[in-house]
Symmetry: C2
Subunit: 161 residues, 2 copies
């Protein structure tokens, strides 16, 4: 979808308005155009980019998919598919597969984030209570109250990649 249809009656948006309305920078819009994710109309004498309301929806859709963890490359594939696949069935299945993959990833991230928050909490508690925290890890580990949750002392055990 490289070239937007010429204007009907609608008053077109300038790139700065698009950026403001979509919550992105002007540079981002130009970058997406370069990647052929977004088109623009340049039929006016100034050769400045003009955008329709449909383009704004398009841009918002890209931001939405980005928010769902898709890379710009993945988003591009989905857009291409939409062009080649008017029935939408292949696209529907692709989106479904991607979304379910992203969901699995998000569940892992949530688990990691929760573990991370628990770790942060005890690190904060440790920094507030332990006197000579600089000695970590050291001789005081044996008597340390944080030993059960400290991942640092197990550093001697090997890890696989």
């Amino acid at each position: 979808m490289k070239i937007t249809a010429p204007p009907q009656q609608e008053k077109l948006l300038r790139i700065g308005d698009m950026a403001r309305l979509a919550g992105v920078t002007v540079r981002t819009i130009r970058y997406y155009e370069q990647l052929e994710l977004l088109g623009s109309y340049r039929g006016n004498p100034s050769q400045h980019r003009r955008y329709s309301r449909r383009d704004l929806l398009y841009l918002r859709r890209i931001q939405q998919l980005k928010g769902y963890g898709l890379s710009l490359r993945e988003i591009g594939e989905i857009i291409e598919l939409a062009d080649q696949d008017p029935s939408g069935e292949k696209r529907r299945l692709m989106l479904l597969a991607r979304y379910e993959e992203k969901k699995r990833e998000a569940l892992v991230r949530r688990a990691q984030l929760n573990a991370y928050l628990r770790e942060l909490d005890w690190h904060i508690a440790q920094l507030k209570r332990v006197g000579r925290f600089q000695a970590c890890p050291g001789q005081e580990c044996a008597a340390c109250e944080f030993r059960p949750v400290c991942r640092f002392v197990e550093a001697e055990s090997g890890e696989k990649r």
Copy 2:
């Protein structure tokens, strides 16, 4: 901490071993050295990098801080502070401030992640149920069962940056 103390009796690790034990790539270790986050001992005739157990702990610490959301620049600042601040008090306060900031950020991320998961769920449900999903957004919006949760239809309202 650029130059590691020469070896005592300890048998030193090669860069590949370090990488395996810390779960990073060889390139990552060289990159950290370039950023002066990590040192290495090069006193052997081959001029190859050698590492002590202490270096391995150091590298793990960097990975730990990275896992806590700190950038390599922030980690570098903390390391520098450790060198200039033997008492550790300034460093303790800095770490505390950083951790509490990271905790606030993590709580926001968790809320976003939960919202994201809810959105993914209804998108998946929509893709499984709605017939002509390609029409979104369109005339069917008015009668769509997903209208209450769809953020796409409100796209007409402006947003601030």
